[in-house]
């Protein structure tokens, strides 16, 4: 085949269900031979934050934000029926029952398939997230221009 088709996804949401949709499409796109980039911004950054350790942000407000909004693939909540954790727990259990990968597994899988995981530099700055806030699968911290340039050549571009 000629040059690979591109697909770009903005992951704005940090909800478990929306992240799941994003990763299903990203891994399928990669399986179809597309070059996929996922651009995590705002609450979406929670999806790719490391699960363990503390977030080393500076300043009281940013520290508070990152305590209340800790993030990490294992802490994501459903956008509906979270019900203090019960709904999310049930959904995770139902996913496991039908052999659906968890977000954690999806991240590893996507990375192994060559999906690029990018963190938005501006929101990292605003929210006080240094590079070591993220999991090792994250490729780089980039700005809007990089993402738009990728999207300019992409046949499929989604905002989730």
């Amino acid at each position: 085949m000629a040059e690979k088709e591109k697909m770009t996804i903005v992951v704005f949401s940090g909800d478990l269900d929306k992240a799941l949709a994003a990763f299903i499409l990203a891994t399928t796109g990669a399986s179809m031979g597309m070059e996929v980039s996922m651009f995590f911004t705002f609450w979406g950054l929670n999806v790719i934050k490391k699960n363990k350790g503390s977030i080393e942000s500076k300043g009281l407000m940013r520290k508070m934000l990152n305590v209340m909004n800790r993030g990490g693939s294992k802490r994501l909540k459903l956008s509906k029926f979270h019900m203090l954790g019960l709904g999310t727990w049930m959904m995770k259990r139902m996913m496991k029952e039908v052999n659906m990968p968890s977000i954690d597994e999806f991240i590893t899988m996507a990375h192994e398939m060559g999906v690029k995981l990018l963190a938005c530099s501006t929101t990292c700055g605003v929210m006080g997230l240094p590079e070591n806030s993220f999991r090792p699968e994250v490729d780089s911290i980039v700005g809007a221009a990089y993402f738009l340039n990728e999207s300019r050549e992409a046949k499929i571009s989604l905002f989730i």
């Binding site: 399928t28 399986s31 179809m32 031979g33 052999n99 659906m100």
Partner: protein
């Protein structure tokens, strides 16, 4: 239909049968046929679409008691 290799995707839902097929295809040689066994109805339209996108050949499928067998040929390396 005769296949060179079989991929068991029973109990798996989208996107796993397609993801696993793409991974398996890396091991196959050009011209070899892969049989994918699945009980996810989505595969009936997903696999032909995957073939259109990747340029591999969709040979057909058989369905019996909810078990769908799909045959795909590796058309290029």
């Amino acid at each position: 239909m005769k296949a060179d290799q079989t991929l068991d995707c029973m109990g798996l839902y989208c996107p796993m049968p397609i993801v696993k097929t793409a991974q398996k295809f890396k091991e196959l040689k050009k011209g070899e046929v892969l049989e994918v066994v699945s009980d996810d109805k989505g595969i009936k339209l997903d696999m032909p679409a995957w073939c259109t996108a990747t340029g591999h050949e969709f040979l057909g499928m058989e369905e019996k008691n909810g078990e769908i067998r799909v045959y795909v040929k590796k058309a290029h390396s």
